[in-house]
């Protein structure tokens, strides 16, 4: 019976039907299997290197053949940090969403943590980790991972928290009336509801993670030179050596990694997350991914799912589901537990107060000249950041509006911009610096370029979103009334994108302040180049071990970013709400 069927398939003419149906599927299965093995091998190698003996100054090879290995090391760090972030996110968001007492301080804390310049912690964190694992590479690796973690976790936690808070009441009622176990509630209600927000925030977070990783793979602390083998250290070494082919190889590898991540991880995940959209009607243009299609068609994976994963999930769900039909009333929490909670709470508060007091005492040691220096540095960075924003807005506003208003242009420009945006600016720092210094500029000019490099994308994407959101009827009205180009911009386009532009600028400004730590102070070709600025102050204080200055500068920066976030974003959001209502 099989034979005629196969012939018909052959005649039907689809390009791959020359492969018998079963054979094709077996081929993809084999490929998926091979990919799995490769992944496993990579993990083992990365783990081996982590558990290897401590070698603070790894020799970075500039040979292109070393690049796959370096890329794998960098990827491993990102992946582990992301795993930590995800676990932390789920726990933090859950507690904040369901415990009103905890919520009252957990959410403001999240806000504060978000504005802290992560890179300030790099030295302290590294020293602590190396001290913790003095004989293994693990210490310095963990330091890098923790740093990435602190850079990427907050927005994910906030996204998960706000998703949980916005689960529709009737959906919650359904789970309650049928008495879902916490596990079923988590897997069938909460997690699915939060997935889309989590996916988008994960993408942002991982992009931010690359930024920090590139910066911290190679850094100098006093006389000690820490190096982690990875793409970031490769690029820095290449730039230091002025080795143009190596730089090109490194940037190329970076782009390939970014594109592969996009195609193999994010696209499939986004396409898969489509089913978690809470909408009543089907979207006509759902995102698709060829990788996801292959995975979905794979017979082997399907068999794996049906024979292993599904029964396992079933077993877990049934174990955790209620067994008896009648539940005892919830027992009162025993007295001692309350005391434990209170005790821990008091201890935490005491520790925080102690730390704050210590910090204040430390900063009290600042003398007048240091305070003046701090203020001047803050002023310089302020000017530099805003100049970078201005430059960024100058090209992104027209470009973003053009892309947003023209679907044809968007189809071409959007993916390109996305790839460009995900190349971490810190990876390019040494390259840019090399070019600027080669052209006769100093770090003063270069640092503005560096800040621009990292932050322009926030503005661009927000402007594009704003332009897309301008209602078509208003655009048509503008055409009918024959508004001149100037009038069009004044009356339609600028007001339309304004709230988005502000959001983009505020986000970009936070990123730029943070980036100034690596952009204003640079170790290049064995010497230190620096300019006046708050970021440079932080980096220098780190280098010479002036901890009270480091602390003070970090606090100043955190305060500035927090104030900008508060004052800049609030009116913009109000404005946008009014506009929508009008």
């Amino acid at each position: 019976m099989k034979r005629p069927l196969r012939i018909r398939v052959l005649l039907s003419g689809a390009p791959w039907s020359i492969f018998p149906a079963g054979g094709w599927s077996r081929l993809t299965d084999a490929f998926i299997f091979a990919a799995g093995i490769a992944l496993l091998y990579g993990m083992v190698r990365v783990a081996q290197s982590w558990l290897g003996p401590f070698t603070p100054q790894v020799e970075i090879s500039l040979s292109p053949t070393a690049l796959p290995r370096y890329a794998a090391y960098s990827l491993g760090r990102i992946t582990v940090a992301y795993g930590f972030s995800l676990v932390f996110t789920l726990m933090y968001g859950h507690i904040a969403a369901y415990n009103p007492k905890a919520e009252r301080f957990m959410i403001p804390v999240l806000d504060v943590l978000q504005s802290i310049p992560v890179l300030s912690f790099l030295p302290g964190l590294m020293l602590a980790m190396v001290a913790l694992f003095p004989h293994r590479q693990l210490g310095i690796e963990l330091g890098a991972i923790l740093l990435i973690f602190t850079g990427q976790v907050w927005n994910m936690a906030f996204s998960f928290y706000s998703s949980l808070k916005s689960i529709p009441r009737e959906m919650r009622d359904t789970a309650r009336i049928y008495r879902f176990s916490w596990w079923q509630n988590f897997t069938q209600v909460e997690l699915p509801f939060a997935t889309i927000g989590l996916v988008w925030n994960s993408m942002m977070s991982v992009a931010g993670g690359w930024f920090f990783l590139m910066a911290c793979e190679m850094f100098v602390l006093g006389s000690r030179d820490f190096r982690l083998p990875g793409l970031g250290s490769y690029l820095q070494t290449a730039a230091s050596a002025g080795d143009t082919p190596a730089i090109l190889w490194g940037v190329g590898a970076m782009i390939i990694v970014i594109v592969l991540l996009d195609q193999l991880v994010w696209r499939p995940v986004i396409a898969w997350a489509e089913k978690f959209k809470v909408e009543q009607v089907q979207d006509r243009q759902a995102p698709r991914s060829w990788v996801l299609e292959i995975l979905r068609r794979s017979v082997g994976l399907d068999r794996l799912r049906q024979q292993t994963v599904a029964p396992l999930g079933e077993w877990v769900a049934l174990c955790l589901a209620r067994k008896p039909a009648i539940q005892a009333p919830r027992p009162q929490r025993p007295e001692w537990k309350k005391w434990v909670v209170r005790g821990v709470g008091t201890a935490v508060i005491a520790a925080v107060l102690y730390a704050v007091a210590g910090a204040v005492l430390m900063m009290a040691g600042l003398d007048g000249s240091e305070i003046r220096q701090l203020l001047r540095a803050a002023g310089a960075t302020f000017l530099r950041v805003n100049l970078a924003l201005l430059l960024g807005a100058a090209w992104t506003v027209p470009a973003g509006v053009a892309i947003g208003l023209s679907p044809r242009l968007a189809r071409v420009a959007q993916p390109v911009a996305q790839i460009a945006a995900s190349v971490p600016a810190t990876a390019l720092f040494p390259v840019v610096l090399l070019a600027v210094v080669g052209a006769g500029g100093g770090l003063g000019v270069a640092s503005i370029l560096l800040l621009l490099l990292g932050t322009q994308w926030y503005i661009l994407f927000n402007v594009i979103a704003g332009a897309i959101a301008i209602p078509t009827d208003l655009r048509e009205a503008a055409t009918i009334f024959r508004l001149t180009r100037r009038e069009r911009w004044r009356n339609l386009l600028l007001p339309g994108i304004f709230p988005y532009l502000i959001t983009g600028l505020v986000t970009a400004s936070g990123g730029a302040w943070n980036a100034s730590i690596v952009a204003e102070y640079f170790r290049f070709k064995g010497q230190t180049i620096s300019t006046v600025g708050l970021g440079a102050t932080i980096s220098r204080a780190t280098d010479i071990g002036n901890f009270h200055l480091l602390l003070a500068a970090t606090c100043v920066m955190a305060a500035i970013v927090a104030v900008i976030n508060r004052t800049g974003l609030a009116p913009a959001l109000c404005f946008s709400r009014d506009q929508i209502q009008a």
Binding site: P168, E170, D173, T174, I177, Y178, R179, Q184
Partner: protein, 447 residues
Amino acid sequence: MSQPIIEARGLAKFFQQPEGGRIEVIAPTNLAIHPGTIVALLGPSGSGKSTLLRMLSGLARPSAGEVFWHGRPLDGYVPNVAIVFQSFALFPWLTVLENVEAPLRAAAIGAVERRKRALKMLDTVGLDGFETAYPKELSGGMKQRVGIARALVIEPEVLFMDEPFSSLDVLTAENLRGELLDLWLSNKIPTRTMFLVTHNIEEAVLLADRIIVLGRNPGRIRADFPIRLAQPRDRKSSDFVAVIDHTYKILTQPEVQDVQPSQAAGFGTPAPRLKFQMLPHARPGSIAGLLELLADRAGSDDLYHLADDLAMEVDDLLPIVEAAALLGFAKLAEGDTEITAEGRGFAEADILNRKVLFREAALKNVSILRQIDSVLRTKSDHTIQDELFRDILDKHFSEDEAQRQFETALHWGRYSEIFDYDSDSGRLFLPESTAEVGTPSPLSPEL
């Protein structure tokens, strides 16, 4: 009579105000629900129908009183209930089959048995063939079928339904009602009682063996009566129409809600809070439309007819009628609406005169607008922050209701040019024309 399944004693819901007052959502209520009946809970929006349902099913905690299931307090007893929601509340990421299986999974029923029962239930509600579809691929009627299957699959003793047909189109709703009734009448489902929340009178009379009518502010039982018509019921039969008429009359009888003179409240005794005048949420344009229609129809009409002709639910029509009555433009009696002389004058006036007439009526009958007017006139700059009035409303209404009250007052006041409002600054002020042209009010200081 048989033992009741659910019994509520002194059941009440209120919100404690920060200043010590409380806002009652549901006044203390006694209620018993017996097996073998379909109970319909009927009432205008804001009467706390859903709140009552949530308390009876154990989803919400009462502020006072207790719910008993089979004589046992709900606190320690887990009732065998299911709920069908107006919004379906399906999980969009689960297939139809998985949605129906979800409650069984929660009940720790194994995969094979679960699938068998879910498939059977899908078959019963007419959804075989759609097992692997996702909810967003289904029409509203089919989604609600999934909702019903998901509720019935656990064989609930009591099936609660919160406006289950309200978001469906007329024909689909009619069809689904009929099928549900068939299931119930043919004893194909083990459910012993159905408890239906609705604002659709006809739906209640079609399905229910007993109708409970709720009034609002605070929610309380205004009437509770059995329907003894045989199933299936014929909409055209005179008995059916009589029951509908009777229900309409109860629902549209004006509730006493005028401001009581302040001397009525005795000092010292913790007398019940004075009732504040509650504005029905109707726009001036709708009131004008209703009055024009009435004027066209020799001055009076049956509410049932009006609602029917306008293809409106009584829930939507009632606030408009009440608003007209509050302004003295119409009278409500025994389910009939009659236009008054003032109302006729209003209906026949042109746009500008309408504003004048509305203004007179509003200042005469609506206390909050009178308050605003006099405050604005006595202040030398003729302007005031809206907070003052929001605070007054907040003392008497729940947060949402206070907001809606303020919005309605705003619509009326702006329409009749009693005041103007700047939403950016949140300030109320006398319109300029009032100062220049002058007004009927002798209080105007410009005159």
